[in-house]
Amino acid sequence: MARFIVIRLLQCVVAFFGILLITFFLLRASGDPSTLLASPNFSLEQVQALKAELGLDKSWGEQLGIYLNSIVHGDFGESLLKKKAVGIMIGDALPNTLKLMVPSFVLAMILSFILGVLAATYRDSWWDNLVKFIAVLGQALPGFWVAIMAVLIFSVKLEWLPVAGMDTPAHYILPMGTLVFFTLPGMMRLVRSTMLDVLDSEYIKMARIKGLPERTVIWKHALRNALISPLTIIGMLLPGTVLGAVITEQIFNWPGMGRLLVEATFARDFPVVQAVTIITAILVLGINLLVDISYAWVDPQIRYQRT
């Protein structure tokens, strides 16, 4: 087990540096932030001076060296656009994103479990069809469009909910609703099919043959086994949730990592984009690692297969 963890950890480190390098060079290939910061009247010398000030006059290799050295020391640099320490910007944005993402993810998870399990249990009933219908409908419309419609209806026309901001619980309803809308259909599908697999398995049949009441069979035996799937689900749906979070933050003007990323990318604000990528990568890799480890812990076969 220890060997497995060490190897997976090393692999994560390699993956992390892969991501870091790709971001670093792709960013620099994507254009020059000084074009956006310089004013039209700047002479060539002034543009050069600006580049020197931003540290963009050095070769890419040198820039990478400087950057690696500073992140090892925990310094993410300064935003080119806003002249603000990136660490502080991330410090402001990350909690906001987590405040939105974690409850939505948990809520989506709980809902998808209840709905998915019920749908699988009463397979082909009207209830199952309803769940399938919701799942399909949720995946059928562009999420941003639905979210904007929701703002127009609930915030503007009915004035039930605030348009933007994050001060009161009411501010959380629409963004969370949107995120749940993004993630719920996929999760529900997964839970339903996992549950169906479990219900088809031999030992559930055995339990039924033993004459246990149906309720006990489903809620005690089947569900417990189906619950292993959250591990898979987290791993599989997390990147999708990140995408959903970016769009949700954009629509609801939520000052989190997603909006920071979009803004910074268009402005070619290298240090900010790099920092956001690093943090996201660490989170995603870390969670995937945990998932893998807990899998290996549950199922020893995997330990040998993957090392």
Binding site: G31, D32, P33, A38, P255
Partner: protein, 534 residues
């Protein structure tokens, strides 16, 4: 039994928490009250501002209050050295007056006495000198390079606490343009707390002071009742701006009364709202909408190398129809690059080309188009946000037989091709569009468009260079004004940049809360400053 014991304990705890929380709040409220009271006692002549004016913005740009980072809010919080007048001239902002020596080399600035930053520090010569130098050296602004030592600055001298001297190497009356963009920051406070802390919560001397900011959500200003021009103190106590990225949401908020002011650049929507009964307010100088041909002096530029083709592109545009349809009547034909009616150097000799498709076709035939050109396709470049308007213009060109194609570019890449940053080489014969607001004096912008050294790489003409040099080296602003007129008339005939229309700036306001605007109308912020209660 034990559980029951917990309930009263919890209730007690909750009460304590709520109680202490309330107490703290009450304390802060009384504090602010006493502050306002003392202020009103000293400034008894000013009617107490009240109420909140709510505005929505599509983007905040910078979430920083440093005026050097071109913040849209700096005009609210800071005074500049000079400011523009409704007539398009310049007057002092922190200055009471200024003199320009007879040789044109020495500007003497006389500050308004008894003018204070909101924290009580005086607006003195030291602050002005510091602000000019800071602006020149670190601002990312179009105007700052002209105040640099490597351009035309010899010295900035403090003569006494209310007088500053600005000495140049040669006469340059057009520098007023840069002076009017120089925000005056509080040097004493910066020295005390450092730049970062100062600009997080700056004390300016402008009509508003910052009272609240939540990053990327909303910003709140309070009227500065100690503002140096008592008659220009805002009537509203608070001005709050919310960031609402979606246009549909902003418009709906306005209609339901959730915001009082709505700026729009979608003219059809504005017209529709005006027809519904919402009043509009015009402000500022007209903006201009023009397009330019990069490096058209080169053979390789293709059809647009021929002035007849460029002229044809002007004569084939039905400017009046563009004003009536795209701009829904909020525009007039004419104007040139940063050069609408009423600005520095404007002359009525400049008249927009008439809509004359027959002449356009004749010019095209004279040029031998399309047969004389290996590649008759004229490529037009734009960023995605301008696409609709450009497509509309293209339909006019296609109607007279020009083969035009559109290429949409990513914004930053587009700007780099216009000459920001390192100049790319392949932009020969490119056509690009420029829709922008205007300034009272835009001599420096024109340099980039019409001179050989200009970053946009549009014009390469010795006469134009000489005429521009004359504009910026006169002894007086009046003399420069005449030269500017001469220069603009000449460059129009080059057809390297073609003006389409001058559009007017408006915003809508909610008549239920806002009665009108009694202040200056030189810009958005200045107009809002004068909002009166309904």
């Amino acid at each position: 039994m034990k559980k029951w014991f917990l309930v009263p304990l919890f209730v007690l705890l909750a009460t304590v928490i709520i109680f202490t929380g309330c107490q703290q709040e009450a304390q802060t409220v009384t504090q602010t009250q006493t502050q306002t009271q003392t202020q009103t006692q000293t400034e008894t002549t000013i009617p107490e501002p009240w109420g909140t004016l709510t505005d929505v913005a599509a983007t905040f740009g910078y979430d920083n209050f440093d005026p050097n980072l071109v913040s849209s809010w700096s005009g609210l919080m800071f005074q500049n050295l000079m400011r523009t007048t409704a007539a398009g001239d310049f007057e002092g902002d922190v200055l009471q007056s200024w003199d320009l020596s007879a040789d044109g080399l020495t500007w003497t600035f006389h500050l308004i006495p008894n003018n204070f930053f909101t924290n009580g520090d005086p607006v003195d010569a030291a602050a002005v000198k510091y602000s000019i130098e800071r602006f020149a050296d670190s601002a990312r602004s179009a105007w700052s390079p002209y105040l640099r030592e490597d351009y035309n600055r010899v010295a900035v001298n403090v003569v006494d606490s209310l007088t500053v001297e600005y000495v140049t190497a040669h006469a340059e009356p057009t520098l007023v343009a840069s002076f009017s963009a120089t925000a005056i920051v509080n040097k004493a406070d910066i020295d005390r707390v450092g730049e970062e802390a100062y600009f997080a919560n700056p004390s300016g001397s402008g009509p508003w002071k910052l009272v609240g900011y939540s990053t990327g959500i909303s910003v709140k200003f309070e009227a500065n009742t100690a503002y140096c021009r008592a008659n220009e103190v805002p009537h509203f106590q608070f001005y709050q701006q919310y960031l609402v990225p979606e246009l549909a949401t902003r418009i709906s908020m306005f209609k339901t009364g959730q915001c009082d002011i709505l700026g729009l650049d979608d003219y059809a929507r504005m017209k529709a709202l005006q027809d519904e009964g919402y009043p509009v307010e015009q402000y500022g100088i007209n903006g201009t909408d023009s397009f330019a041909f990069q490096k058209s002096w080169m053979e390789e530029a293709g059809p647009v190398h021929d002035i007849n083709i460029r002229k044809a592109m002007s004569y084939s545009l039905n400017r009046q129809e563009i004003c009536d349809t795209w701009y829904s009547g909020y525009a007039i034909p004419g104007g040139q690059f940063f050069f609408p009616h009423g600005v520095f150097g404007w002359t009525d000799e400049i008249v927009a080309d008439a809509y004359d498709p027959a002449l356009a076709e004749q010019l095209i035939a004279e040029a031998g188009y399309p047969d004389a050109f290996a590649n008759p396709i004229i490529t037009v470049y734009c960023q995605a946000s301008d696409q609709d308007r450009i497509l509309y213009y293209m339909s006019y060109w296609q109607a007279v037989g020009l083969q035009v194609e559109l290429k949409v570019m990513e914004t930053a890449t587009y700007w780099s091709y216009l000459g920001f940053g390192p100049p790319p080489e392949d932009n020969i014969g490119w056509i690009w569009f420029w829709k922008s607001w205007s300034y009272a004096c835009s001599a420096y912008h024109c340099a980039n468009m019409y001179t050989t050294n200009g970053v946009h790489k549009v014009t390469n003409d010795e006469t134009a260079n000489a005429l521009y040099a004359a504009v910026t080296t006169q002894l007086t602003y009046e003399a420069a004004r005449e030269k500017m007129a001469e220069f603009q008339v000449y460059v129009k005939g080059l057809y390297t940049n073609i003006g389409v229309v001058e559009y007017q700036n408006y915003f809508l306001y909610n008549p239920a809360t806002v009665g009108g605007f009694d202040g200056r109308h030189t810009g958005y912020a200045e107009t809002i400053q004068g909002a009166t209660h309904a």
